[in-house]
Amino acid sequence: MFEYTFQWRQAFRALPQMLDGALVTMQIAVLSMVIGVTIAVLLAVARNAHSPWLRWPATAWVEVARNTPALFQIYMAHFGLGSFGIYLSPYVALLAGITFNNAGYLCETFRGALRAIPATQVRAGRSLGMGQVMAFRLIVLPQMFRIAFLPTTNQMVWAILMTSLGVTVGMSTDLTGVTQDLNARTFRTFELFALAGALYYCIAKAVMFAARLAAWRLFRY
């Protein structure tokens, strides 16, 4: 009835290669978050702006990022842009797709956080001689990041997991790509992907732990 023989040793022998893949996964996730957070802050400010020239493009970004599948966004970055003569490597396409997605979701998280900060905080900064940008940077941003911190860590985990979609555009150096490659050569599908799953789980847990530690260090108030 059940004739499959597990070959865990073979899977564990591939562990160093998979760990290399996990590093690439982390690299893409971290980069997509750093760039995504930066864009999301700008989008959140633009979404709250009076000028429609700022508001509309930001709204369009958020609408597409949140209401279409991440896979579609990565496909568009790789194959879609190719139709216009812009060829992105699988790595760049995956990074671009996840960053686009991150920025869209985080924009709304940050926008909510911005609304939670009383306008009088900026007023107090301005009354001390600060310009609009300085007041935003020194008074609003740190408070916004605190309010948005937990949802942002969720997005970080989501970014890690989304990297697995890279395999659909030919990404072969991240954790899923490496696992897929090993699978094609050994056919130890269950063992290899179970191990990959465990690694994803460990990375996500490590990120959440690091985030809690950072929150404890940064947000003492």
Partner: protein
């Protein structure tokens, strides 16, 4: 000197200041009293340029606040303002709250800014709370911190906007004592207040605002003892 000349200010169709004229000399303490919606607080925010005006002009040491060429950020260093809501920056300690603007706006070194901050925080009785976050302070302490924060910019003028209104009655005294101390030291102050005893005891002049108009202004003895305007008498009898 602060010179307010025929200032009009509207929020949409609602005119909240209807031709205000007032001159405040160096070293003078002027209290502004009046009912809610009479335009008292709006006047203060117009003086330091946080609100634009519709017509008239406001001059601070001869500089027109609302002129297009005026560097408002620079001018605001001369004019400290403390609001009804303390507006403490919750992510910064008391010391950081007070040193932030001197460091980032005036460009002082951390050490210089901290020396000034400690001096002012000691002055307002918060020397023991330097490394505490505002969330752990009482309302009165937060308000005194806000006063120290404004003073750390070494302003020539201080504007106080109902600074005791959000405080529990038992905490009002400590903030009023701080204001009295500043007045005794010769700080030029405009205080929007509902504390009539403070207005009577500390001010050189008291202005009564009614429906966007400065209905009456004079020394405290006149306003509290022999008010000329019917609305002033009505207001004072309602708050006594």
């Amino acid at each position: 000197m602060i010179e307010i000349e025929n200032v009009h200010k509207s929020f949409g169709a609602l005119e909240v200041l209807k031709g205000i004229n007032l001159t405040v000399d160096k070293g003078e303490v002027v209290s502004v009293i009046g009912g809610s919606g009479s335009g008292k607080s709006t006047l203060l925010t117009c003086i330091n340029g946080l609100e634009p005006i519709n017509s008239g002009r406001i001059l601070v040491d001869g500089i027109e606040v609302h002129a297009k060429t005026t560097d408002l950020n620079k001018l605001r260093r001369k004019i400290g303002i403390v609001f009804q809501q303390f507006n403490a920056f919750p992510h910064l300690t008391v010391l950081e709250n007070v040193t932030l603007a001197p460091r980032k706006v005036k460009g002082l070194s951390r050490q210089e800014a901290e020396e000034i901050a400690v001096k002012h925080l000691t002055h307002v009785g918060l020397a023991e709370k330097l490394n505490v976050y505002p969330g752990r302070l009482s309302g009165g302490q937060q308000q005194r911190m806000a006063i120290a924060r404004a003073l750390a910019m070494s302003p020539d003028y201080m504007l106080f906007d109902e600074v005791t209104s959000a405080l529990d009655p038992q905490l009002v005294g400590e903030v009023l004592d701080t204001l009295k101390m500043l007045a005794d030291e010769g700080m030029t102050m405009i205080c929007v207040t509902h504390e009539m005893s403070f207005a009577r005891d500390v001010s050189n002049r008291v202005a009564f605002f009614h429906k966007g108009v400065m209905a009456e202004i004079g020394p405290p003895e006149q306003i509290f003892g022999n008010a000329q305007h019917e609305e002033t008498r009505k207001f004072l009898s309602s708050v006594r």
